[in-house]
């Protein structure tokens, strides 16, 4: 089974049908473990119980960038290899990524209220993530504006690759500028500064959210393929009854 075998949508559908139940089960299991571990994690000596927002906020923020990465790879697949499933993958990833980005912004602002005293602050990290959210919405608008999916796919692919410039800016914004948002503490040179009591639930939650994305994405891709088939059949039907 190589990537090119998946170019056949029917083969992808069978594979997706076989994988999805297992993936759903594993996702539910890992998320349950992660939620339990975050619930029993100790309170922070400064932040108290609000530190637990981190276990939801950080995975969402990671996923918001990860999904754009997935879309960039899919965009390369569309432009360079013309892989037939690449534009399906890119199209279905955009709403999921937008949802993760929105949740990251929402949980961040709920966390910011007790800790910083404000729901929103125009610092570099928050602003760049907001720009990411706007770009997700722009991409979705682009997909919805054009009827021909292959034409929209190529345009969206170019825009996705241009937008990927934003990803390193988001990642390093907390190091380049002095911001209210704390600097990188998990993935950084010289190891994590997070205590193990917080680090392990956080990593489990991150894996759980990534699995959740995979599940949602494969399910959405399957739906998109079926939706396109239904549309083709409807158009055939219409042209037949017209003739």
């Amino acid at each position: 089974m190589t990537l090119i075998d998946l170019a056949n949508p029917s083969r992808f559908l069978t594979l997706a049908g076989r994988i999805l139940p297992w993936l759903v089960a594993v996702t539910a299991l890992v998320l349950a473990i992660g939620l339990y571990q975050s619930a029993i994690a100790p309170d922070d000596y400064q932040q108290g119980a609000t530190v637990k927002i981190m276990f939801i906020h950080v995975p969402n923020a990671w996923l918001s960038m990860f999904v754009w990465g997935v879309m960039s790879v899919a965009a390369l697949g569309t432009l360079v290899w013309r892989h037939p499933l690449a534009d399906v993958a890119a199209k279905t990833a955009a709403p999921i990524g937008a949802a993760f980005t929105f949740l990251a912004l929402l949980t961040g602002s709920l966390w910011g209220r007790p800790m910083w005293g404000t729901y929103w602050e125009w610092d570099a990290r928050l602003t760049s993530v907001l720009i990411l959210f706007l770009m997700y919405l722009g991409l979705m608008a682009l997909w919805r504006a054009v009827e021909d999916p292959s034409r929209a796919a190529r345009a969206a692919a170019v825009l996705t690759l241009v937008g990927s410039v934003n990803i390193p800016i988001i990642k390093f914004s907390v190091d380049w500028w002095n911001t209210l948002h704390q600097p990188a503490s998990v993935v950084r040179m010289g190891g994590s500064t997070l205590d193990r009591a917080f680090l392990i639930p956080l990593l489990v939650m991150a894996i759980g959210f990534t699995l959740l994305f995979l599940t949602l994405h494969i399910a959405a891709m399957r739906n998109e393929i079926l939706r396109r088939r239904v549309r083709t059949l409807q158009m055939l039907q219409a042209s037949k009854s017209a003739a």
Binding site: I131, L137, G138, L142, R151, R154, V158, V162, G163, I169
Partner: protein, 222 residues
Amino acid sequence: MTALAALIRRDVRVALRVGGGALIGVLFFLIVVVLMPFAVGPDLALLKKLGPAILWLGALLASLLTLDRLFTADHEDGSLDLIVMGRTPLELACAAKALAHWLAVGLPLVAATPILGLLLNLDAIATGAVALTLLAGTPALTFTGMIGAALAVVLRRGGLLLSVLVLPLSIPVLIFGVAASNAAVSGPSPFGTPFSILCALSLASLVIGPFAAAASLRHGLD
């Protein structure tokens, strides 16, 4: 080289003649700036404080709304197909077209800044700083906007979609343009830091813009 020079000369000439609409951008810029005192009130001290931001917003919107013209007219009369099929690399042709567009639309905006600065009660230093940052920043607006213009012509959808796609990309330019202008007027932070980032943004978009626009034209036109 002569082909590119001819392309630039032609585009500037077309933009400046009847139906070209190069100076509409300046007129729009003027109207946006005139609208602001009605919205925030004719308080001269407040206008002086907001002045750089108002000028930058006006220039951003003016250059955004003129972007439609970059490829549409050429697409309608078929010369865009000739440019795409021509022997000149499409990336260079796109860069030449954007340069011509900037000469016809962006540069007049910079030239109009001193007069509009008077309306907003800006002193000489502030006006000079805004004009300088606009001179450094408007190429970035044109060259990133060109990506949106290419997508719009490929998809045959202009207007709001173009704005929605381009505006997020132009936020960094706006941030550092206004930051540099404010630093020159009042700020404790030095003028050089945001200004160099602004120049870097312009240079980066000078590279990325033509490639992305050429890619979307090449993949999209058929």
